[in-house]
């Protein structure tokens, strides 16, 4: 099965700034590929290049088998994009937005109304379908945008921060839908996100992008294993540390601030054996390796801060959406 996306030295420069630097990437058909990176890393530029919204400075890519430089229209026919900032037309109703999109993407006329109804139900906007998008909340706009990105059943779907700004219930719905697509196996999904648990639980593989390069590419568990190990803190009786020294999965144990600090592999599996060997324990704290640690190690940035700052940018972005 040919890869859904292959890039060859794909590069984009904006004047002196190289936003995407000779990226060579292969994304398998049907996979969910997570793209992680701080703001300014080149995530959005890469997506814009692959979706032909930007012209590459050099290099090329095949998306769903079509060349982005030579056949941009064919590429666009096979992809769907859910943008980071909702781009739904707020002077139209939800339904009209979906209809416009369907016509632009060549959805067979006979099927349009049916698909619109099903999509609206999926994102739970049926009741508000005929109100102007102007009256929608940020979360509703994003849900409409998701419905819109999916309605023409693209082969490759780009989701740029798809659950940003959604309430937990809506986020869950979106994840369930993405997992459903994943199981059906005929859509390739490229997902950019700041939410670690989202990337971790949904992605088959993760690419970490920083300053225009892909610096790491692997499955979430492999990446976490590369970074290190879990840490377990035990508040326990003195001497416990000696009891634990022999255990094979512990690589390091020290006493720190009145607690025993252990560095070990796969705390999930090994916790029971550890506690059995330790005997009476007052308190256990388990710190699992997270993608945040992965990111910290490979890109040296704190991606969580980015996510917090993002809500401020969201507010600024919302203030943009006032016509005149």
């Amino acid at each position: 099965m040919p890869p859904a996306i292959i890039t060859t030295d794909l590069t984009k420069r904006f004047g002196a700034l190289t936003a995407v630097d000779a990226i060579n990437l292969e994304i398998r058909e049907g996979e969910v590929f997570g793209l992680l990176g701080p703001n300014g890393a080149g995530k959005t530029t890469l997506i814009n290049l692959l979706s032909t919204l930007l012209k590459a400075t050099s290099g090329t890519a095949l998306v769903a088998g079509r060349d982005i430089n030579r056949e941009p229209l064919a590429v666009r026919r096979n992809i769907g994009i859910v943008f980071q900032e909702p781009s739904v037309d707020d002077l139209l109703t939800g339904r009209e937005n979906l209809k416009l999109h369907s016509l632009l993407y060549g959805v067979p006329r006979a099927e349009i109304d049916g698909r619109i109804a099903r999509m609206l139900e999926l994102v739970r906007l049926t009741a508000r379908a005929d109100s102007f998008v102007k009256t929608y909340s940020g979360g509703m706009r994003r849900r409409l945008e998701i419905a819109r990105g999916l309605i023409h059943r693209p082969k490759v779907l780009f989701l740029d921060e798809p659950t940003l700004g959604l309430d937990p219930a809506s986020r869950k719905d979106v994840w369930t839908y993405i997992r459903g697509l994943k199981e059906a196996g005929d859509t390739t999904i490229i997902l950019t996100t700041h939410y670690m648990e989202e990337a971790d639980s949904l992605s088959d593989r993760i690419g970490i992008i920083d300053q225009g390069h892909i610096i790491e590419l692997d499955t979430p568990s492999a990446l976490k294993r590369k970074v290190g190990q879990d840490i377990v803190y035990l508040t326990c009786a003195p001497g416990t540390l000696e009891k634990l020294r022999g255990l094979p999965f512990i690589s390091e144990g020290i006493e720190e601030d009145g607690r025993v600090r252990l560095t070990l592999e796969d705390s999930g599996r090994n916790l029971q054996a550890l506690l059995k060997a330790a005997g009476d324990v007052e308190e256990v704290e388990v710190r699992r390796v997270t993608l945040d640690d992965v990111f910290l190690k490979f890109a040296g940035h704190q991606i969580k801060d980015e996510a917090e700052n993002h809500s401020m940018f969201e507010r600024i972005a919302v203030s943009k959406s006032v016509r005149r």
Binding site: L53, L54, K55, L73, R76, L91, L103, L104, Y105, R148
Partner: protein, 251 residues
């Protein structure tokens, strides 16, 4: 070659939005009506044309003015689409930039024609009687004019980055285009420099043609005006398709 469902979809979108922005429909008519009913009735002197009052003489020019203002504003408003990221949706769709351009151009044309119709209706009641054939010819003449001016607006809008330039365009392009076209005076008796500039002003030919239809007087031979309009249409189409082809997503 033409993606009809897509063009239909784009046109439908423009039409829906146009009819929903009712204040804009009315406000576009304010300046033209001021010219028609204040300047038109204020400058009471002789009219350049026998048998018609000055107000009636400038009426064709005011019709052209409405088309000019509606169409160019429409074209420039694509900047809002850009700024608010709505344009991303159509840029990401599998339609050629040419299709997008055509959809937008036709959409702007529709707006221009509707405003023209409204003005002609007002004119029929207050300015001069209009037999149906004059009305129809006028509308027919408005089609290439609206198309051409919309294109100009779209070309500038495609290149501009923000709404701040909008005022500049109005001051340095739109108003001069109106004044130099001879809408308010007879080019035959105007100072030479005005006549020279008027030659390059597409609105001149629009005014002249419509004036010929409405009051039977024209500075250029009507066929020459029509030809000039069609040439401008062709040129602006080519430039428009090129400008749209060059649009890339910012950020």
């Amino acid at each position: 070659m033409f993606n009809f469902p897509a063009i239909y979809a784009l046109l439908m979108r423009e039409a829906l939005i146009y009819f929903r922005e009712k204040e804009r429909i009315a406000s576009i008519l304010v300046s033209p009506l001021l010219f028609l009913f204040v300047v038109g009735k204020g400058l009471t002197g002789s009219s350049p044309v026998e048998g018609y009052s000055y107000q009636q003489f400038i009426f064709p020019g005011i019709v052209a003015m409405v088309i000019l203002f509606t169409s160019i504003t429409y074209g420039l408003y694509i900047i809002w689409d850009k700024r608010l990221d709505f344009l991303k949706e159509v840029l990401a769709a599998p339609i050629s930039r040419t299709t997008l351009f055509m959809g937008k151009a036709l959409g702007g044309m529709l707006g221009g024609l509707i405003e023209t119709l409204l003005l002609l209706a007002i004119g029929m009641v207050f300015v001069m009687p209009l037999p149906p054939w004059k009305l129809l010819l006028c509308l027919a003449a408005s089609v290439p004019v609206a198309y051409m001016i919309t294109n100009i607006g779209l070309i500038i809008g495609a290149k501009m980055k923000s709404m701040e330039g909008f005022g500049l365009v109005m001051s340095f392009l739109t108003w001069p285009m109106f004044f130099f076209s001879g809408a308010l005076f007879d080019l035959a008796t105007a100072a030479p420099y005005i006549r020279v500039v008027a030659l390059f002003d597409p609105v001149t030919y629009a005014v002249d043609l419509i004036r010929w239809i409405l009051v039977g007087y024209a500075y250029f031979p009507p066929l020459a005006s029509l030809a000039a309009l069609l040439v401008f249409c062709a040129i602006t189409t080519a430039l428009g398709v090129a400008a749209f082809g060059a649009i890339q997503q910012e950020k």
